[in-house]
Every structure is written in C-alpha cells, then in structure tokens.
Symmetry: C2
Subunit: 246 residues, 2 copies
Amino acid sequence: MLSSELAALAGVTVRTLRHYHQIGLLPEPPRSSGGYRRYEVGHLVRLLRVTRLASLGVPLSVLPSVLDDPTAAEELLDELDDRASAEIERLTRRRADIAALRRGGTPPDLPPELSAWHPAPEAGTPTDMARHEHEQLVLAAHLLGPAAFRSLFGGLTVPPHVTARFYALGPDSPDDEVASVVDALLAHVEPIMAELANLPQLDSRASELLEQLNEQNLGPVQRRVLRQLQLRLASSESDPGHSGRA
Amino acid sequence: MLSSELAALAGVTVRTLRHYHQIGLLPEPPRSSGGYRRYEVGHLVRLLRVTRLASLGVPLSVLPSVLDDPTAAEELLDELDDRASAEIERLTRRRADIAALRRGGTPPDLPPELSAWHPAPEAGTPTDMARHEHEQLVLAAHLLGPAAFRSLFGGLTVPPHVTARFYALGPDSPDDEVASVVDALLAHVEPIMAELANLPQLDSRASELLEQLNEQNLGPVQRRVLRQLQLRLASSESDPGHSGRA
DNA sequence: GCTTGAGTCGGACGCGACGTCGGGGTCTGG
DNA sequence: CCAGACCCCGACGTCGCGTCCGACTCAAGC
C-alpha cells in the first residue's frame, strides 16, 4: 500500500501522513528499494485511531500518551468538552453581535449594544464632520462603557438642526451667527452636563481624550465655540472641565 | 501617549500594536527624539475600530478595505456569520460525539455512533488479543461505515466463550480441541456470512484489509483455524473469500 | 551630574497543523 | 524505452500574535 492509498482510505492527505511521521506520531513503515513507503494494514489502524482522536480536538502533541493509556481518556474528554463549549460560547456571542449590528444598521466598528438607537447620519453634513461624529461615537462608547454611554448619548440629545448649524460655521461666519450657535448649543448641553455629573464612571482621562478628539477633528471656529461653551457652563454652575458633545 | 497606555486603553498588548504597525494596519505615529512612539487620540480611535472588527472575526488582511469602505460591510457580515455558524456546527457535532462516547463508555478512538452497544472487553482475554479485537473494531467501523457495521457487529455475534476458546489456542493445543473450535466458530459464523452477503457496500478491498489484519495480529494456530473456516464455508455454499470475525 | 528602575525598541523565533512549491527520483502500462 | 502518474524531501507560508533578547530611553531620586 503506497502513501496515497493509505491517505485515501483514512480520509487524509499525503502531506498529513508525512507530517505525522515527522512529529513521530506514526512509525515509519519499511521502504521499497526506491524509497517509497510501503504501508500495511496495521498502519491504517493506527492512523484511524489518530484521526479519530484528532477530530475530537485532541492536540497532536498529547495524542501519543492518550493512544497508549486509555484510562487517561476520561479527563481528556472533560477538557475537550470544556474547550469546545467555551469556543461555541464565543462564536455564539459573535453571531449575536453580528445580528445586532445588522438589525440596527449600525456600522460594524461600533459596539453592537448600541444598534437599537444608533443615529443615522444627517443628510447634508459635511463628510469630515460625519466622520468626526462617527469617531466620537466609537471613542465614547469604548471609554464610557455601555451603561454610561446609553444614558449620555441615548437620552438627551442636541437636535440635528443645531449641530448642523454648528458644523456649518466657517472662518467667514458673522459673529452674531457664532454667538447664536453658542446660545443654541448651551440650551441643549446644559441639561446633558447635569445628567453627566451624576455618572460616577466618568473619569478624567476619558473626558480629556474626548476633548482632544475635538481639538484634532474640528475647525478653529468650532473649537472656539466649544471653549466659549465651556466658559458659559463654568459660570452658570461651578462645574468645570468637560467639553460638550458636538 | 506611549504605547503601553494606548494598549491599555484599547485593551490590547503592546506587542499587538507593533504587529498592527508591521502589517500596515495602523499608521506609524510620530516618534520622540529617542524613538518612542507618541500616540494621539486619533490613533486610539483607529485602533478601537480595528479591534472591534477583529473581534467580529474579520481577518486582519481584509480589514483595511473594510475600514475605508463601509458599504462592503454587508456582504462581509454575511460571510462572517456563515463562517461562525459553520464552526459552531462543527464544534457542536464534536461535543455530541464526546457525549456519546462517555455515555457508552466507548474508547475514544472508536466512532461514537457505536457507543450504544460497544462490547465490553472479556475478562481473561489475553491483552494482545483484546488489542486485536479493538483494532478490528476500529478498522471495520471505518471501512464498512456505520450502517453496515451495525448490521454486522451489532446483530449476530460469536459468543464470548467461543472466541475465548479461539484465542486460547496455542501451538500445543490438541488437534481435537482445534477441530472443536472450528466447529463452534462455524456454527456462529455461517449465519453472519449469510447476512453479510446481503450487504451491498462490502467491497473487496475492505474484506481484503480485514483479512490482512488477521494475518498480522493472530498467531499461527488462529490463522490456520480461520483458513479451515473459510474452506468449510466455501464448501457449504459457493460463496468465497471473506474471513469471519474472530 | 549619576544612577536606578520602569518602559520602549526592533529582530528573531515559536506555535499548530498542515498547504504549497520546487526539483528530483521511481514506478508501471504500452 | 518512454511517458505520465506517483513518490520523495526540504523549505517556506499560513494567522495572530507571545515570548525572549540585548540595546536603548526616559523620569525621578540622590
């Protein structure tokens, strides 16, 4: 029996046979004068035992000990079952995440818990501002955790027409328009900040990072508006330091 | 922000960061004068998007294209879901096999379908003969397939006290004992061979291999007995060529 | 300034179970 | 005797990092 026949009988590839020989899992059979391996039926039996155990998930490295000692099989089966069930659990969670993302139409780089209420991108928003909002969501969702994130982004919200005016500001916007946007934002941000103060998880590093994201992504006018907002918030209460959503 | 802080914020290791840089998945940040990477919050955002998609099972190699093109995500999610469910199916079958093996007390190198009726090893059987029976089971179960195997090994059986006498034969066994064993085996093997003739799947290669296993594992007396059995079977009917179970 | 200790760097190898490629030899039917 | 199928072995590739190494850098204390 040549290697390809043995492989076919056992349902493996010839390369697998060679691998098993290499790692000492199967004994080398006698060779023909030309160096071909000549297998006997005993090799098939050993190979079948190997493939069956391997198909149960036994690592090839521990397989020899199990082949010789049938009593060691019990704990082995326990362990294999545990590993398989753990893996199934992981994959099941993954599938649930995928399903949640699809149901909510959420982009896949957002946490799936947020799929239920994920805000659709506003029509007419400049693309780089849409990107900023997206990045803000990604960052906040991770830093705040699902609970804090939901209570912050899921409840009170700055309405789209206000944020649209905010993003539309440019270097040539008239001063009174800028001031008007600050007022409009303030009206919506103030209650958000109040609720935010009640959340214990909100550590300073998180707010610092969110602020830095604004610094990097927003234009100079938007940054000025946010700073004015902070001043107004600080003066209305003595609650310092956190930038509002934009 | 140094690498360890970024890694901690994203929930990965520093080594993972370096790996992502190496494969071009993350852009290299500017370096300090000493060569240290200085990250900004934007890097954290990108990293978070990467880790989330990776946790959904997206291969790192296809990840860049998905990051840039959000519309490609749909088919991707389909594919990921299919892969996950296929993997779950495999692992579930594996767990079912493990459970079947444990319920039946079947050794793990036998097919789990046989767990219900797997014969317990006979007390007093020489160990090498027990090994032979085991190997015979392994080989036959694989070559014949579950259905043919069950109808062959699961129904009619040579009773243990007969096979015990067969295995106990040695070079110094008296001739009349040998002849008596042949008679006893014949009585049980004849109906088995009759049923076996009805099975279509039984190809000649399979019976050839099973015969070769007997040749290799059994002692000279046992082999002689089997050959006498074959002759007697061939003379009783004109059905040639297959060795009986032993 | 000098040291110390924690952090960082890049390169290289390891893992697990083989797939794939390449260059060369061997067998078998016609 | 030759073509074509089969076999050999060695070596590198896969995937997502873990681990180790020797050399360097940085902030803090003395």
